[in-house]
């Protein structure tokens, strides 16, 4: 299968690879997928005092399209409010990366990872509020 130029660019020069401190209250972590299925994405966001996403990092075990989908997601997340981030749809990722039908699940996984990271952050905030 031939890859789109954007997929190749993201896999050769992935943006925002790395790890944020998962114990930091300002950090939300999403870990989705399974090794047996051939893809696991970990996406992390750090939310600033202004409620916007100040930083985003990812690590992905998966094919080029999975790496590219998560790399693109981190680029898009930065600077967005949580509500804006939550509105990101997998179809937008498919369109941006020109993913073929067999790779659509990679974009779905990226959307799941975003939602999971946001949910983790919100759960932490709720826990903190109820603790105080």
């Amino acid at each position: 299968m031939a890859y789109s130029e954007k997929v190749i660019d993201h896999t050769e020069n992935p943006r925002n690879v790395g790890t944020l401190d998962k114990n930091d209250d300002a950090v939300g972590t999403g870990l989705v997928g399974a090794p047996a299925c051939g893809d696991v994405m970990r996406l992390q966001i750090k939310v600033g005092d202004d409620g916007k996403i100040a930083d985003a990092k990812f690590k992905t075990f998966g094919c080029g399209s999975a790496i590219a989908s998560s790399s693109l997601a981190t680029e898009w997340l930065k600077g967005k409010s949580l509500d804006e981030a939550e509105a990101i749809k997998n179809t937008q990722i498919v369109e941006e990366l020109n993913l073929p039908p067999v790779k659509i699940h990679c974009s779905v996984l990226a959307e799941d990872a975003i939602k999971s990271a946001i949910a983790d952050y919100r759960a932490k905030q709720a826990a903190r509020k109820s603790a105080t």
Partner: protein, 416 residues
């Protein structure tokens, strides 16, 4: 720096040896007067074509040890030309099944055969045959005892590959052949990956039918052969292609004369040069493995440690997905058992049958070395792979978790 891209996928196909092409060329053109139809019995164009086909038949017979046991002469009549190994496999299985149907309806094969065998068996099952699919051990080998235990009074055929196309494991055919022969059961072998690369002798191994193809041994694509034993026992087949009665009625259709000539030349080169070539390739393969092993931890060899094709190295790079690694080394042509490289989106059925786990199957890369592989290429590929695996692991959440001491098997993954 070697010339890029580098081809390391010799199990998929091989480039045609220039000497093979040279031998083939006259059989296309008017000027040479050798373009004729081998079935034209009444003029010189036909005779020349037929003569060339017979020479090729002898070469191929000789390569697989298909010789008359009394005279030592190649039994060229035992070679039936086809369009390739898929057709040979179909002809062998369906042809035997149809002919011996009165005798029995049971066929034995293994779970890691090529799809040309497995899907043909599935078809035969629909037609009332019973097929036993033997498990393989963790190295991908069928043990003779399994065959002995599976044979019944209804068994007419055992079909087992000489060497596996993914993991390169060689089956103990000589031992299996003793058992099938003693039971009066025919033994077929899809031998395409092993011919010329590992010992194969139809008489010594009691093989009754064998599928071959030219393009895995530096010959052209689109030409193959089925070896059909002619005596002790004489194997009978029902033809699967009707028409002009070519190939003694077993495979109608005008012979692909240039292709067959090329196949014959390829067989001759394998017979005369194969031994030295295989030693060189085995050394290069072992060096590639060692060089990567020196720089990359957490790798596992898939297949048998010693009983394997000289040019085969199948390795799982744990915590890295195979297709991503293939992209990262895109100037090197290899293959992977990862689901993402298959049309079915399932990881390799061969690797799963070895019981290595889906994760490892997703992480597997098959390097296939061959005649034109150079030492310089080995060095380049070992270095590139080592660097890119490192880079992808930096990007892998699984590697990070592993390094933190998390047992990945204990994690509750949300399968999707």
């Amino acid at each position: 720096m070697p010339k890029l891209p580098i081809y390391m996928d010799y199990h998929a196909t091989t480039p045609v040896d220039p000497r093979v092409i040279e031998t083939m060329l006259p059989y296309f053109t008017l000027e040479s007067g050798k373009f004729g139809n081998a079935a034209s019995r009444n003029h010189v164009f036909g005779w020349r074509a037929e003569e060339a086909v017979e020479t090729a038949r002898e070469e191929i017979a000789q390569l697989i040890g298909a010789v008359d046991e009394k005279t030592g002469q190649p039994d060229s009549k035992s070679i039936v030309f086809t369009s390739g190994a898929t057709e040979s496999d179909n002809l062998a299985l369906k042809g035997v099944a149809e002919f011996y149907r009165e005798k029995g309806n049971h066929i034995i094969t293994s779970k890691i055969e090529h799809k040309a065998i497995l899907d043909t068996c599935k078809r035969l099952e629909k037609e009332g045959f019973e097929v036993t699919y033997l498990d393989v051990d963790k190295h991908g080998m069928v043990q003779p005892e399994q065959v002995a235990a599976a044979m019944t009074d209804k068994t007419i055929l055992v079909s087992l590959m000489l060497a596996n196309n993914e993991v390169g494991t060689i089956n103990p055919l000589a031992e299996i052949g003793k058992l099938t022969r003693a039971k009066g059961v025919l033994l077929h072998s899809d031998a395409v990956q092993g011919i010329g690369k590992v010992p194969f002798d139809v008489n010594a191994m009691h093989v009754d039918l064998a599928s071959l193809t030219a393009h895995k041994m530096y010959g052209p694509k689109g030409v193959g052969a089925l070896y059909v034993r002619r005596s002790k026992p004489r194997v009978r087949l029902t033809a699967q292609m009707d028409g002009g009665g070519h190939e003694r009625g077993l495979r109608s259709g005008t012979l692909n004369v240039p292709g067959i000539v090329g196949f014959g030349k390829a067989a001759e080169l394998m017979r005369t040069e194969g031994k030295a070539e295989n030693e060189r390739i085995r050394g290069q393969r072992d060096r590639l493995h060692a060089l990567i092993g020196k720089r990359v931890d957490e790798i596992t060899l898939n297949g048998h440690p010693t009983e394997r094709l000289p040019g085969n190295l199948n390795v799982s790079f744990n915590f890295v997905e195979g297709e991503a690694l293939m992209m990262a080394i895109k100037d090197v042509a290899v293959s992977s058992g990862s689901a993402c490289t298959s049309a079915s989106l399932e990881p390799s059925y061969v690797l799963r049958a070895l019981g290595i786990g889906e994760e490892a199957a997703h992480s597997s890369i098959r390097f296939g070395l061959g005649r034109f592989t150079t030492d310089e290429e080995i060095d380049y590929v070992a270095d590139l792979v080592s660097r890119q695996v490192g880079k992808l692991r930096e990007m892998s959440p699984l590697y990070e978790m592993h390094k933190e001491g998390i047992d990945l098997k204990s994690v509750q993954w949300a399968a999707h």
